[in-house]
Symmetry: C2
Subunit: 206 residues, 2 copies
């Protein structure tokens, strides 16, 4: 056994235990989304999961470990949706459509970015959880860049277009847009930010 986790932390060994652990993590995710990481209360999570303290401390070493699992779960879920969606992007119009759809869906709730809000709250939080979000952003950026590379390979972008910079620019535009839209409770900022970033792409057309 490796000595990676300093405290005791049991992994479920029966189907029942597995289910309990999962309910716990999902309830934690919900609470984090509703109130934020620092405002997530164990009691609430436990109640909403129909669970009890002993169960939680059976599967997690402490509160931070639960938070980390919740963050990981959220990131996986998010990237799990993003991956397939980006696979099928091979033309500028595809990218445009995909991002517009993303913005449109976001406009329904105007809650912050699913992983961005976590990142903000974790800037001075437990390091392992923070790292997970950083990696999730990197994965997102990669999806964008690979899509841009395909688009470029297809001859839709000038040869000197820097796909790395463009991907990062797109990502920052999305984050900034979602953020301001949340703050103002108005979809406009995200739309404007996205339009601006896409315009810029269009201007680099071959």
């Amino acid at each position: 056994m490796s000595a990676s986790q300093p405290a005791k932390e049991t992994t479920p060994k029966t189907r029942r235990g597995q289910a309990s652990r999962e309910r716990l993590v999902e309830a934690a995710v919900q609470s984090v989304v509703d109130h934020g990481i620092h405002q997530m209360r164990l009691d609430e999570v436990l109640t909403s999961a129909g669970s009890s303290k002993s169960q939680m401390y059976h599967y997690f070493s402490d509160r931070d470990a639960l938070v980390e699992a919740a963050v990981a779960h959220r990131c996986d879920e998010f990237l799990g949706q993003l991956g397939p969606a980006f696979e099928s992007v091979s033309a500028l119009s595809d990218l445009k459509t995909l991002l517009r759809a993303f913005a449109a869906e976001y406009a329904r709730e105007l809650k912050g970015c699913p992983i961005g809000t976590l990142a903000g709250e974790l800037s001075s939080g437990p390091e392992p959880a923070r790292q997970l979000v950083v990696e999730a952003f990197a994965a997102w950026e990669n999806h964008l860049e690979r899509a841009l590379q395909r688009i470029k390979a297809a001859g839709e972008l000038r040869a000197d277009a820097d796909t790395g910079h463009l991907a990062l620019g797109l990502l920052t535009a999305l984050e900034g847009g979602m953020f301001l839209s949340q703050v103002r409770n108005d979809p406009t900022p995200l739309e404007v930010a996205l339009d601006g970033a896409l315009d810029r792409l269009a201007s680099l057309r071959e």
Copy 2:
């Protein structure tokens, strides 16, 4: 006497009281910047202000009121710097220089946006404080738009350039850039985001 504040909240009536209240607010700002709004502890604020509970509750109805004062103070301070800086912008090159300097200064610390981090933490926080930040963003956007209008009036932007959209685009780029730079602890995202937004402005030149 108006009935605007539901709880008792004394305003300082001597020079001494005035000074005490100010120390309290400044210490609160510091604590908020260091640990975030929700992690701001009264005890820490009081200690660092060389003050005591009774003083705090003498000038503020409760914790939230102190937080609100701290948020207001921070916003005022920020806008107080921004205003004069923008006054002297009348050409595209001025704006470019100003924003680049802003980014460069930000790169030294890579802490989040002075008011953006507050906004994020207040998204589910006390409404009055939240409102202050929303207004601060509006003021910032106004500075940007007025500067763009002057630039346009000087003939540096095409007549059909939408200064409103451009200002909002600039703001979201800055926020998204600062945010990602903070998350990654790397000045690059802000630089790239800003370059992108400025490029776009340049492409709308007359």
